[in-house]
Symmetry: C2
Subunit: 124 residues, 2 copies
DNA sequence: AAGCCTGTTATAGAATCAATATAACAAAAA
DNA sequence: TTTTTGTTATATTGATTCTATAACAGGCTT
């Protein structure tokens, strides 16, 4: 899986990295059991520091997307039943939809966008 | 309009403030032409620094939710045709829905949540 | 056994951001 | 005139982000 980083973005590098990997899982480019590159490898291939990658992996571990095996490195392992995430999602959506509503983006448009994105993650 | 701040949140105070005001506009608690409290007033009533409020207002001005009138202070004034926001929304939704997809939250559940939130903002 | 590659940890520095604290200014309102 | 408005400048504190070395133990390869 190709991981791209935008150095002009305001988003922290380790957050961009985390997001890319989560999106990789959603789009099935990364599957349960797949091994991520070592922190040193990935850091070098992107051109950033080892610790920045390590922080991304640590966050992914805490959030339940990855487990770390001393032998194999960081392995995709998804906690599927985390209800905290639903409340978190509600809060995030409240802000996003408030903005959308102010900009006269209709509910239909949002639904269409949701479908489009969900489609790209392989339906369900 | 009552503005509440969570001092335990990781979100910056000025971002929380901005979000509250945008949500206030969406829910029609704040309407075009309404005057926001002065930076000093609001700062005192919440118990934070004047500059933190000022930063929130400055961001709201840049994002096109508020205009500042020397006479009246900060006034709600919404730029309704900003297409940058649609692309921004797409990027934010991509991350949120990736997480949702990983947690087995179905597309239907997301649609229902969208409706619920949009409902609270008065339909459309 | 020796060397290499894992993740992990510690420490330190630079740059930026968040929040606070004073202070002052011009314009408008009381 | 005095108060209140937004605006601007400056400074300090603390946290965050990213980088840089360095070292360690566990596992793998040769």
């Amino acid at each position: 899986m190709l991981i791209e980083i935008d150095f002009n973005s305001e988003e922290a590098l380790y957050i961009q990295l985390r997001n890319r990997i989560i999106m990789g899982i959603a789009s099935n480019e990364l599957r349960e059991g797949d091994v991520l590159p070592s922190v040193r490898q990935l850091a070098e291939s992107i051109g950033i520091n080892m610790h920045t990658v390590n922080k991304a992996y640590t966050v992914l571990k805490q959030e339940g997307f990855v487990k770390v095996d001393r032998r194999r490195g960081a392995v995709i392992a998804i906690d599927e039943g985390r209800l905290e995430d639903l409340e978190e999602m509600r809060k995030e959506l409240q802000v996003i939809l408030a903005k959308a509503s102010c900009r006269n983006i209709s509910r239909q448009e949002v639904h269409a966008l949701i479908d489009e994105i969900y489609e790209s993650y392989g339906g369900v």
